[in-house]
Every structure is written in structure tokens, then in C-alpha cells.
Subunit: 423 residues, 2 copies
């Protein structure tokens, strides 16, 4: 069977790299995404904490593929895949035939079956999540300021921020909220900065469990230096309006952020594959699920065992998987020998904890403190797509570094009342 039509679902790190890798191949690429933009998710927490603007970490998918004449972009939502007929069905009623399909639909939050927690403890996956969270955090200070005179207890609740989960996202978010809360405090006249509490909850024994132990310790130390209370071995048992309940006691708070668990997108269901609680699709070393000849599943949606463990759901894994599938399909389409099985090249891990502090493990070299922080910044700017985004993010960071001013403190969802309410 020759490969001519390649359909890719999802324009995250996986899908976009697959599409770009196919640039020179004799195929027609159709990249389908619900959004019009590719999002640089590793910096999403900086949008949520008013450091960067949405436009600095997102780029229109159409712009990225402008010059790639064999690729077209569809802004549409896939509702089903018919593996037998080899077609993809979209919400707008399109049927897209494919010779090869790449599923790169990512992951979403998982509340371990407690879906009602979602209302009180939003997670961070999309730009709207980030803007909603930014608003929630900024409004908490406004509300504390408003109630502090009459109800100091309520003000304390508004000044308490709980982050659930101490993986890279949770750690970076807790650090950034700590810095944001210090920086905004200059602008308030009534509330007391000493009442700001940022609490990071982790079920396991240490933060950054996927990092080497000494880096975890350093991260814990850096978080504490920033004023973050780190509570390990702490399991959340309930989340409701005004408080979080844990096995170590109750925390009164108005702001809880979920960074604890993700679940693969429900792509497995399209393929009729029974997928476990995490929803991942098991793939072999060619990144295909068993029994499918022309369907690839990559990135956070896939589960691929390598060297005894499953690869983590992080950007570099998704990107390398996308490149591998792109290269493979390119070879197959040209009638050449496909590459051997996928091998993940682990360049290491990075996490930043506020200004001047980060922990990094790059090709086995451990870097901490200021050097780690510079490395973290350089790596993130390097991997940002689009020259303008790189330039503006660098300038913006320089600005933040020099002035300590978080300029993106906009509360926008909180709109003025409509006229009927007004009068």
C-alpha cells in the first residue's frame, strides 16, 4: 500500500513535529486541531501568573506551516476514527480519508474519579485555563483587600493558595505564585503580605519525584526560601468551596490549583481499544498500537515502554515521537526502508523555582541555582516556535528581572455589568 494522504490529529509538540518532518515527502498532510494555535505548554504557568502574555507562548498553526506546500490545516474537531474504512470524521461533517493516521491528541486533567473537584481546583492545559487561573489569583488579592477590615478570616482564606501535586508544573507554579504574591503586595494598602501562604501538597515523599534525589532536595530548599510551604506525604481527600481536606488536616483556602494527574485523551475509544484508568494507548516500538498497520499514536496519548519504564508525558518525548513517525512515513512514501524502532534521547530534566533558581539534569550533568536558571531560560527560549515569540519572551523576562513588575495583571473575564444590571 502506498502512502499518499497523511492525517495528523492534534498540533501540539507531537503532531506539529510529525507534520514538519514530512515537509519534503511525496504526501498530502492534513493537520486537524480544535484550536487555531500551537501552544508552548511548558510556559503556560507563566501566563497563569501574569508574567507572560498568551501571544508570547502561542503561534497560529497556519503560520507555522505557511511555506510547507504539502500541508494543510483544518480547524475542526475529530469525533471519530473509522479504522476499517481508513477515515477520520469531524464535527463539521467532514470525512477525511487517510493512508496513514497520526493521533497526537495529548492529555487532560485527571481528578482520579473525583470530577466534582474540577470546579474548585482547576488545572492548567489551555490558554483559557491559564487566563482563568490568572484571574482567579488576581481576584483573590482584590477580594482579600475588600474584606480584610470586616472579616480578617476570609481575607486569610483569599491569601492562601494551594497547589496540588509537586511535579515540574506544580513546583514551577508554586514558585511563580509566591513571587507574584510578593510583587503585587506593594500595590495594596490594607492586606498584610505576612498572611500570604502558598502551600504545595505532594502525596509522595519528595518534590519533583522524577528528578534525582539531590535535585529534589535543592528544589525543596529553594521553594522554602521563596516562602512556599511544602507538605510531602500529604494526600488530598476532599476539595470543596473554601477548603481542602488532606490526611494531614484541613486547609482553609479560596484558591486550589490542580497539578496532580493527567489522563490521556480519549483517542483509544476511537480505535475500540480498551484503555486503563489513565486512558493511554499502548504502542510498540514503531509507535503503532497492536493490530493497526497504518495508525500511529504519539505523545501524551501513547504509552511506550522503553528501558523497562514508560516514557513520561513531556514535550521532548512528544516531539521526538512526532519526528520519528514523520521520518518513518516519509521513507515509506518514497518506497525506502523505514528507520528502525523509536529510541527516546533523554536530554534531561529542568524545573525553575522563581528568579535565579532552577534545578537541571542535562545529559547527566546536574546544575542548580543561578546557572541552572540561565540554562532553563535558554532552553525554553530556544524551543519556542517563531522568532518573534523568542524575542518578545526574552525582552519580557529581562523586563521582569530588572523591574520585578508583573505587567500582565489583567482581570478580563470579570466584565462590567450589563446596562440593565447597572441602572
Amino acid at each position: 500500500m502506498s502512502i499518499r494522504d497523511v492525517v495528523i490529529i492534534g498540533a501540539g509538540f507531537g503532531g506539529l513535529s510529525a507534520a514538519k518532518e514530512l515537509a519534503g515527502a511525496p504526501v498530502n498532510v492534513t493537520l486537524v486541531d480544535q484550536q487555531n494555535h500551537h501552544l508552548f505548554q511548558p510556559l503556560l504557568y507563566q501566563v497563569a501568573t501574569a508574567a507572560l502574555t498568551p501571544a508570547e507562548i502561542a503561534v497560529p498553526i497556519r503560520s507555522v506551516l505557511r511555506r510547507q506546500r504539502n500541508a494543510r490545516v483544518l480547524m475542526d474537531r475529530v469525533i471519530d476514527v473509522d479504522a476499517d474504512a481508513a477515515t477520520v470524521v469531524t464535527e463539521s461533517g467532514r470525512t477525511l480519508p487517510f493512508d496513514a493516521l497520526v493521533i497526537a491528541t495529548g492529555a487532560r486533567h485527571s481528578y482520579f474519579g473525583k470530577d466534582d473537584w474540577a470546579t474548585h481546583a482547576p488545572g492548567l492545559k489551555t490558554l483559557n485555563d491559564a487566563l482563568g487561573l490568572r484571574e482567579k489569583i488576581l481576584m483573590a488579592f482584590e477580594q482579600a483587600e475588600m474584606v480584610v477590615e470586616n472579616d480578617p478570616e476570609a481575607a486569610r482564606r483569599f491569601q492562601t493558595f494551594v497547589v496540588v501535586g509537586a511535579g515540574p508544573t506544580g513546583v514551577e507554579l508554586a514558585g511563580a505564585i509566591a513571587e507574584l504574591s510578593q510583587s503585587v503586595m506593594r500595590d495594596f494598602r490594607h492586606i498584610d503580605g505576612a498572611n500570604n501562604r502558598i502551600i504545595l501538597l505532594e502525596g509522595g515523599p519528595r518534590v519533583l519525584p522524577s528528578f534525582a534525589e539531590d535535585l529534589s532536595l535543592r528544589a525543596m530548599h529553594d521553594l522554602k526560601a521563596l516562602g512556599v510551604e511544602v507538605r510531602t506525604e500529604t494526600m488530598v481527600t476532599d476539595i470543596a468551596a473554601g477548603h481542602v481536606t488532606t490526611n494531614q488536616g484541613d486547609i482553609p483556602t479560596e484558591t486550589v490549583i490542580w497539578a496532580a494527574g493527567v489522563q490521556a485523551s480519549p483517542a483509544g475509544a476511537w480505535l475500540g481499544l480498551a484503555n486503563g484508568r489513565s486512558g493511554h494507548v499502548e504502542v510498540d516500538e514503531t509507535l503503532r498500537p497492536k493490530g493497526f498497520d497504518n495508525i500511529y499514536v504519539i505523545g501524551d496519548t501513547a504509552r511506550h515502554e522503553a528501558d523497562g519504564g514508560a516514557l513520561p508525558g513531556i514535550a521532548p518525548v512528544a516531539k521526538q515521537m512526532g519526528q520519528y513517525v514523520g521520518r518513518r512515513l516519509s521513507k515509506l512514501a518514497s518506497g525506502k526502508e523505514p528507520p528502525s524502532g523509536f529510541r527516546y534521547l533523554d536530554a534531561g530534566s529542568l524545573a525553575t523555582i522563581g528568579r535565579n533558581r532552577a534545578v537541571a539534569d542535562i545529559f547527566g550533568l546536574k546544575v542548580k541555582g543561578f546557572a541552572g536558571w540561565l540554562l532553563w531560560g535558554a532552553a525554553h527560549v530556544y524551543f519556542l516556535i517563531g522568532f518573534k515569540n523568542r524575542l518578545f519572551v526574552m525582552l519580557h523576562w529581562l523586563w521582569l528581572y530588572l523591574t520585578w513588575q508583573r505587567g500582565v495583571r489583567l482581570i478580563m473575564h470579570h466584565e462590567p455589568a450589563t446596562d440593565s444590571e447597572k441602572s
Copy 2:
């Protein structure tokens, strides 16, 4: 009566200048606004057309007044003014006593009694309006691309943009949409740029009616050069889904933008003043409505006759009124002679029509074309509040100018489906 507590409602150009003018005065200033940010409205259309980001034209009110120790900021909504008791009542239940009150609550859209048009023809007053409009315009191209093969008529409707009203906002918006539509066209594979139509409707005989006639003619010429169809003497008689009806015929379109009329905020009702259709509060040369000794009404909410005509509802008028009232209250609070009546210093008018083109009338000097455009840019950057905003807007404009790339093409309100919809 001595003046100690000054309450200012609204942190637009008028309210914020009044607050800043009071910096050295022996008073307590309370600035109340529903939003947490001051918005540079003259550039709002650039957010709506994906040229600038929200953070570039907005600044947190608290930051602006950080160093002014006699001022505090309340993020709250005023629901009533009790002139006899000299108090302001807010939504959160506060009662703010005042010795002097400044009402600077601005204006909103007016559909001349046809409020149902609002659904189909949104206007442009807040950041959310701008983001909603940006999404609507960008989605129109996406939808045109999606339907063009099966329904070319519908695609044409999506590629038609109608702006109602050819004042400065309407003219600048029409020019910006024309440029945006040229620039995005490179990224689409199916729709034809020749089908893009930008139509500017004006009831009067010429665009920019408040400008000198030769500048109007030049603006009309510049708009046509950009591909905008200008239709003067054209009255809108109906707006509904899929079309606009005018006295000159029907226009099939999916995107209508309202730039035709504004109405003062309903502050007049708080004072028990009968206000006309436009809702303005008539003020004397001290900017007080008749019969009120300690209440000032400024900016778009006020109507002040000067040199035979009412002052227009534009930023410089609001700003100068705010400065006047601030100066006046400062003198009164110090027991000094207040300044004589308010005099508006008209520096002129400016409007830009796409890159390299603008018309300006500065202190009687008429400037057109490239020189006018540079002047327009310099004036807007100069009046932007906050050094960072100035720097980033300049860099962003330079970027746009050199690359023709509109980078802020994010569709964010259009979120991925929730999980229950997905599966």
C-alpha cells in the same frame, strides 16, 4: 466646608488624571472601578485586529497609583450615589462618604433604541469586546475556509466585514481589518483573497465628519487604496443573522461591527437628573451639574458646551477635564482660590488608515500620509501609560511593520470540547 475625602468613580482617562492631579493635595482619594486596569481605548481596535496584545494597552490601576500615598483603589461597582447624604454605595455593600465626588464613568454603545442589534453587531469598549471581536474576525476566515468548497456563497458571507459608522474608530477599524485580511490570506489554501470585502457604512456625507473636509477626502482615498468600500449617505435599517439592511440595499455578511453611536453611562440617574436620549449630564464651566455643589461629572458622561458646541467624547477632553477637577479640588482643599472655568485646549485630531497612512490636524496644521502616520504613532506611544507598555508597543509595531506578521492571531474563547462532549 473643607474637602478631605474625594471619591472618584471610574479609572478611565478622566478619573485617573483627576486622581493623579490630587497627588500633592491634603485629601484622601478613593478611586473606584469595576475593572482592575486602566485601558488605553484609542488602541483597542488594534487588539481587535490581532496587532497588539491586551497587556500592551492596559495597566493595573493599582500600579499607576502605587507611589501616590493619598490614593487608594477599590475594585468594586458603584450602584448608587446619595447626594444628600454625600455617600456612594457599592455592590459589595460599602458606603463611601465624600466631601467631593468625581463621576467619570464613560460611555457605552448606543444602538439608537434597537438593542437587539447588539447581538449581531458588537461594539468596542472593553478588552473583552476586543478579544470577542478578534475571535469573530479570525473565526470568519476559518469558517470561510471550511465551507468554501461546498457553499461558496456562505464563504463570501464569512469574507465580508461591515463596519457601521465612519468616525475615527470606524475608519481605523475598517483600515485595520483590510490589512489583517490581506495578511492572513497567505495562510489559507482554499479561499480567495479577491472575495474579501470590507465595507464601511456612514449615514452622513463623508467619513471622519469631525475632521476638516480635505482630511476626510484624503481618508476616503486612503481607505479605498486599502480595498475598503466606503458607502456614505447609507443608513442601517436592520441588522440580523447573516445580513445588514440599509436604505441602499442588503449586504450579506456574517460580521458586523458597531462604531456608530455611544451613550453616556447611566450616572445621571444616580443624581436624579433627567437625561436625554444620549444620557449625558449637562455641566457648567466648573464641570458640576446645576444644583450640585460637590459633585463633578467629566469625560464621556458629561456634556459641556464650549465655544458654541458640545465637546466631543474623546480621550483628550476627558483627560483635561480630570486635570481641571483635580486642580480645582486641590486648591479648594488647601483653602486657596480655585482656578477659573474649564477651557479645553484642542490639540487637534488624528486618525490612521493602515500602514504609512494617517490624517492629522494638529494645532491647525494638516498632516497626511506617511508623516501623519509617524505623528499618529508617536502621539499614541507618548500618551500610553507606563514605560513598559510604550517600549513593547513600539517594538511590536516595528515588528509588524517589518514583517507584516500579525502575531496575536489567537482564537481562545473557542475552547476544546469538554470531556463529556468529546466521548
